[in-house]
């Protein structure tokens, strides 16, 4: 009994070490999104393309989609862009939110690098970004056919993350939408 009691501080110390050691490898960029499970926030914003009608949250309804927050000042978005092009060619529905950007620069980007987006939402003030809890770019929201945010991915979607994780999440939303 007494021996066990003597070992107690050591045991506590070791336990603490385990927690601290685990803490070293925690990815603190990976924040849980407050919006998962909630409806996509209401918005009415102009399209990036000239002469197009404004876009609202109603336009997202009817089919599952990825809503990708991007900007021309975001280097990581440039890396991600070819992957989005490829996914769009495979039939994945992707909408773009051009976040705190210059519209002219955005148009040029889409002309030069190909436009993978179904809807091109222009959010120069970052208002929709704020409602989405965006704090950087790229961020990608998985929205189901009813307009509910089901998953949020922060960072660059590359082919590996798509194949290993994200494709299944998107497919689940597609399957769900089938009657």
């Amino acid at each position: 009994m007494k021996r066990a009691l003597l070992m107690l501080p050591l045991a506590l110390f070791l336990l603490m070490l385990v927690f601290l050691f685990r803490g070293l490898y925690l990815d603190n960029e990976d924040l849980p999104s407050a919006l998962v499970g909630k409806r996509f926030p209401a918005f009415t914003l102009p399209s990036v393309e000239a002469g197009q009608p404004p876009v609202t949250e109603q336009d997202l309804l009817g089919q599952p989609s990825l809503v990708n927050v991007w900007a021309t000042w975001c280097v990581a978005c440039w890396v991600e862009h070819p992957v989005l092009n490829k996914l769009a060619a495979e039939g994945v529905v992707i909408h773009g939110v051009n976040y705190k950007d210059d519209t002219e620069a955005a148009r040029k980007w889409l002309r030069d690098l190909h436009d993978p987006y179904d809807l091109n939402i222009s959010d120069p003030e970052g208002l929709l970004g704020l409602d989405l809890g965006v704090y950087g770019a790229p961020e990608t929201f998985f929205v189901d056919a009813n307009g509910v945010i089901r998953y949020k991915f922060i960072g660059v979607i590359d082919e590996r993350t798509w194949e290993n994780d994200l494709a299944a999440r998107y497919q689940a939303l597609v399957d769900e939408a089938q009657p």
């Binding site: 603190n28 924040l31 849980p32 999104s33 407050a34 919006l35 705190k100 970052g126 704020l130 409602d131 989405l132 809890g133 704090y135 950087g136």
Partner: protein, 158 residues
């Protein structure tokens, strides 16, 4: 030379005092105080070890602007914090709300302190008891004899 060194040291020390500077106009001192309170209570989502008052990142800038806008609209502190939590999650509060999930954060320090106090009291009591009862009483007659002879030997040597 010494003075120069002192000046250099003071300059380096003052780096820590820098904070983001905005040019907002407030209606009252009370509103200004609330602005500073709120922006120091909320964590910057991008640069996680800074509050949004200290951070110069674009997102912190936007959030300060939002706080200012909501203050102008006469919203309460709770409403403003809730607005941020709704979008950025519990994480933006430096002082987490008391829920089942965060209870350990709130109560663990007090629990550890109490455990320490209990252990201290327990140990002191036991030690006192040993002292009071007299250690000698626990010895067998032979041991008592031996102790006595040792003590006498010590006295003779003195």
């Amino acid at each position: 030379m010494k003075r120069l060194l002192l000046v250099c040291c003071l300059m380096i020390a003052s780096l820590g005092a820098m904070a983001a500077i905005d040019t907002y106009e407030f209606d009252s001192e009370e509103q200004r105080a609330r602005f500073y309170y709120l922006s120091s209570e909320l964590r910057c989502p991008k640069c996680q070890n800074q509050n949004i008052a200290d951070s110069n990142s674009p997102i912190a800038n936007d959030l300060r602007r939002e706080i200012y806008r909501m203050l102008q609209e006469d919203r309460s502190n709770e409403q403003i914090v809730d607005f941020m939590v709704e979008r950025y999650g519990e994480f933006v509060r430096y002082r987490p709300a008391l829920t089942a999930q965060t209870a350990i954060l709130w109560f663990a320090p007090a629990a550890f302190l109490l455990a320490g106090l209990f252990a201290l009291v327990f140990m002191l009591r036991r030690r006192q008891k040993v002292y009071r009862d007299g250690a000698a009483e626990h010895l067998s007659p032979e041991e008592q004899q031996r102790l006595k002879s040792l003590l006498e030997k010590k006295d003779r040597n003195d």
